[in-house]
Chain length 318, copies 6
């Protein structure tokens, strides 16, 4: 491959490629090597994944050419480092939108995101709300999704653990809703409550996390936590809907406060209804399966993954 | 109500009824009261539930009229004791089949059992097996269900915790299968494996428990446990099927050994595949929901149940 | 002592007394003894404590003379049962206010309550609020204590564990405030925040518990829990105060959500500030010391108490 | 800044300074880089903190110029490494006391120590003892503090966790005493016992730790532990005081053996008295707050600290 | 059997026997039945075991005929109560030594004790000490066993859990010594240390427990605990032996403080040497096996015992 | 020492040696240094231990001269790195058997193995089996050891934790047998069962691990686990022995399924018999002591080891 060729997308990189590409730089650290020389460690992202980069030459000049949070054009070569691909960067600079769009740069191609298009997910969300039969619950869901539409379309579901990418929030919430409604049908549970619980259980994360290409905790997120923030958001929204029944509000709040399933996982109250048990099981399973897929995607070789410290076991590729 | 009237079934008893009925006696204990008088505590069961009984008069004679495990004809009156119905027994004797059948006695009416008819459940089981596409898995399920058909039709799912009644095993297994297959479809998991895992995960209980109207642990059940016994049963069955692939056997055995989900719940190995995670979640949820329903059925009053010591919380009637 | 004498208050009862008294009946259960006879178990309370009662004679008539929740006039004799005083009741009837007031009946004498007069405690509360220097925090505390003044004056701090008596809420909250402010002074913490945290940390209990002489959980109390309910109450109150600073609101909410100290004790978020650590330590210590005092008061003999199952140890009288 | 300038104290270092200073070297490790060249990693301390150092040039000669435990004169420049200041050392040599004192070297300036002067702390200690009313307890405290005066004036409170600096022991013990006495006054506890418990609870650390500028565990410290060692020291001291009451000795020993609060934290016995509960709460709180302050001091930027693995959470700067 | 016959010893009782016997009464409680009548519950012990007793008639007179802690002569009949033998007592009185000795009463026959004669155990103890090669360790063991000889010959090993009978301490200590020395030989451990550790690990129980026929905790036992008390006893004893090496004392103290194996079981320090690991394993195993034997002896029927709540499982008779 | 000298065995290496040796290479990783140069990290093993190696020069050529799993001839010099010996390799190549045998190369000298010769261990194993009195148990042990003789002679006992070297399985199993039989004799346990349990408790590891000089988990090992695999192996073997009593098979299977002692350590069933308790204690102790010895051997200096993260403490050299 020629250095003037465009590199494939991150998910398709292999060792010993030469070329250039457009990325979002999500991490940049200038360090001094043991020999005294400076070098730069960075993370580069496109919509299919992220790759570690390293700048070893011409550091003094290149360090001022870009920053953490910039879209960048990069030239370099891939090699293997501890069994993972890395990109040794020869040239790097900030995007020049006018010029680079002509060569195919698009912001949305450079941000790690859910596989499924956001419009598809949004339609499914609307459809779920249409199927709610209780008018108060439906009204609540319509208001909250309309009010937070902008965030809902882009938010990740978590900082690092699972669905940690653009659109991950919606992807997770819809997946939980599908599972919960199927299980609810099997056990004769209240489907309206399950829809509300699935769509709102993590709603506090819209305030817990700050997301602008990359993700961090907000002050309120750290100090109050998404479980309580979400309950407050629901309380506020129901207060603005005329005659929203108290018992219904309490049921929905119970689904939110109990969705972590156990006190030691941060649920101040544990599930006391069949709906709360279903929601908590669906949420836990969806987060775990997303972690399994992530782990299998991160390591492309071997029948078993390395030890997964969060899940406390190795995983099998099957 | 007149003492010569037939009592309603156990699930429909109310206080202050007088009458007679046919039951299975599942517990009998002769005690001496503080005053020195003897009295008898007993449990009486029909297919809809069980009720505590008490014999206070004529004990010396009645104590020899029946034993634990007998079908009995009982005459007495209901009252409330600590908020639960009990039956104060005036007369009790063993069933005389010839005579009592004429008055409507049928063994199957006196054994606590699943709501759904066993033939329905058996048909669903067969249908699930027919839908398995892998011929080895299908063959395995056909052999094992045929071989254990007699037990499968009557077994309870557990000694006391959940589905502890005739047909409870099949009821639980089918419910887990339905949930697991729905979740499996949503997550693109291997449906054949999930069917096998759902139908076989508790198969060791056919050897762990001894059941002949009432239930107890077998020696092997206590000392080896149903998780390991079930794995051995699968190993033996696969060994008798020509060319059963090793990898398939290992996958099914993994589903069995890991189905309790966590080491501290008795899983020697934790789920390492998406299928094992789904099965374990479906099994846990089904057992919990059955306990909730049981608890709500046992206490007919109050918005919340008493503290449920196994689940560690009170439950809400909704 | 003559049956026509008035019994001393509960805290001063000794065995083998005969007499009459005014009480609140907080528990009543009609049971059938082994001999078939009915008897009644009850709890009787005055402002100094509670005593178990038992009605063995004339049950059929007396059972309709009073109910759980009634103020009653009782005649009987004390004896020892398992090392504790009990009252064997010969006569019991509902209070007839007009007639009984003449003989000294006063409702407030029959309700178990904090030792300290409520007006004293209320003054201390007001004084604490006066000392708050930040005008927003002071305003918040004034509004919330004014709004909930009626409940604040009578509420217990918990259902059974600690300060489970009339005025116990205020007693506990003031005690926590005193400790927290002393510790806060020692560690240079923000005293305004500590005052707010101490006074508001359990405020959700005003909605979690229902209290009208005796205590129970409300529906919201069970399903949402006082930690979250309290945070919502603060959020609502701050929203009605013009320009209440966001950061201040978050700090106070953090004190509430984290006050149980650890996730396994039901804190969805753990203390992240010196103020939150001080508040959580002061709250825990006050609850423990109240339990020790209760246990030592309940058993009047012996150098060590019996094993205290909640604290997991025996306690020493010193 | 000129290389001939004196560097500010460690707590005041910023990047890109050039200069010289006096320090205690508490760690020194000679390593071989990947290129085969040697380099040295070291820790340098003065009374305000510690800083990591690195020697990259002239290693073969400089390695013999000093050792771990030496007071040294250092010349170099500061830079940032992973967000923390480090000192790149150009010249280093052992202190020459006669010559260097002339330029301002004082041993006590080079040892990390408590902010408060030791004489102040010693006076407070004496005053606390004067306030003890029980003559036996006062005698015990006088003897033990006199006997161990030399160590008490310099000892750290722990190896690494909290108050890990010269004078930290006294600082911690006095802080616990202040808190415990305030809480004791509020709860009417025995103040003499609390003074004794606060001053003696960690006394075994005088034997557990070895401290001579830097800290390590003694053999007895590892194998017997400070809880038991401290109890033995008290037993020995009380044995030498005529007529020291047994019950008093037992009470003080109980405060020591139970001060970790829970078995899993190494308390062979859990607090059974109000005094023991107060002491354990005061000790735990003081250690936690010291860790918070340390963590906030170590990271000078950011609203929240990095994840604190011992406390299991991030901390907020406020 | 005739009421004038002597009953067999407790271990050999069967239902429906009539007769008399000599016992130690270890528990006596006078209660009022629901009918208002008094009855007495008591425990009766001889050297082979204990049996529950009940006095239903003539209570007013018999209650003054004996007390807890008395040797008594009893007349009555055995029956089954909840599957265990009990003795319904018709007559009971304190022993009249002169008269009753003539009929075979001997105190030592009425106290539950180890199967093996104390003199045998004492000889084995002496022999173990003779085999110690290190003169300081041997001297220590000789002094301590001589000093505490009286208690060592009679003490139980625990209040209720294991070896809870006269001579149980010695029985346990010798059993641990035998196991530890065998294991020590296999692993090349220091046998002198193991002998000392085995003989002294529980020595603090001589002060922790008070034993005079029946057992209770002493004040020091509750407040300081046998682990620390034992270490103090060793410290005191070694201090009186000239030139006892410090390192040896530390090693023996380590064996004592760490013998519970884990912090959560009350070991302030965990085993850090092969000797400490062996001792802790031998101690734990001996206590467990004694509990198994006790449980199997308490229930004479059934292949499996009832659920053993301390061990958390059922046990198999084999 | 001269580069033409043969290096001592690994266990006897010291810093600053020059020379050559024969080894097994068990790990090889080619990396790029910060300067861009390649270097190689490797592990070299002989029968006495393993040493880390590093190739810094001539990497491009040497990287193709050998691979992970090869026996190699190495030339280089030792130095210290982080307190451990490493070998800086100048020359390395695969073994040329014909030529190198002449200079003393033997495969068995290059594989880390148990200290004791395998033939000795095999004889002890046979002798243990000869002492079994029950003919069925003896037959079972003979069959299983004969069938798996090849693996039994070479297998390690674990991947990394304990006895992780050639012959480690047999070493561990014999050591457990010796301890269990001694303890069994002391407690009157069934020695035949203990022999069977000791020899077979880890038999599933022959299928769990794959071992060909170096060790890894097999697919079945990960997914089914050695506890269940071992039980299946016993079930299969007993099925082929005529008239093998069911109860005996269940007892042996119980020893295998329960040998980890507690559910949280992966035992699906906990020990219910004295034999199972003895076996589990002997197994745990042997694994722990082997870890202690390993830790002491790995660090040759210092009275205490570094913190041992698996055991959760430091260890004392004694």
């Amino acid at each position: 491959m020629n250095p003037s060729d465009r590199l494939p997308s991150v998910g398709a990189l292999s060792p010993e490629l030469n070329g250039w590409g457009f990325f979002l730089c999500t991490y940049k650290d200038v360090r001094q090597g043991r020999s005294g020389d400076l070098f730069i460690t960075l993370s580069l992202q496109d919509k299919t994944g992220w790759v570690k980069g390293r700048i070893l030459n011409d550091v003094a000049r290149l360090r001022d050419e870009f920053d953490h949070g910039d879209f960048v054009k990069v030239e370099g070569r891939t090699d293997l480092f501890n069994g993972r691909i890395q990109l040794v960067v020869d040239r790097i600079r900030r995007i020049n939108p006018d010029q680079d769009k002509a060569h195919g740069f698009r912001e949305e191609d450079c941000v790690l995101c859910a596989v499924r298009p956001v419009e598809d997910m949004w339609s499914e969300l609307q459809e779920l709300i249409q199927h709610v039969r209780d008018p108060h619950v439906r009204e609540l869901l319509q208001r909250m999704t309309t009010q937070h539409a902008a965030k809902l379309r882009v938010w990740p579901a978590a900082l690092t653990v699972h669905h940690a990418y653009r659109g991950g929030f919606l992807e997770h919430v819809l997946s939980v809703a599908r599972s919960a409604l199927m299980l609810g049908a099997a056990y004769g549970a209240n489907q309206d409550l399950l829809t509300a619980g699935a769509l709102l259980h993590d709603i506090g994360k819209l305030e817990e996390l700050e997301y602008d290409r990359s993700t961090s905790y907000s002050r309120e997120g750290n100090l109050v936590g998404h479980v309580t923030l979400g309950t407050i958001m629901v309380r506020t929204a129901t207060a603005s809907i005329p005659d929203f029944p108290d018992i219904l509000r309490t049921q929905i709040e119970h689904l939110i406060v109990s969705h972590h399933g156990h006190k030691e996982f941060g649920a101040p109250v544990e599930p006391m209804t069949i709906e709360a048990m279903i929601l908590s099981a669906a949420d836990d399973l969806d987060a775990k399966i997303n972690q399994v897929r992530q782990a299998l995607a991160d390591e492309t070789e071997g029948e078993f993954t390395a030890y997964h410290s969060r899940l406390g076991r190795v995983l099998w590729r099957g």
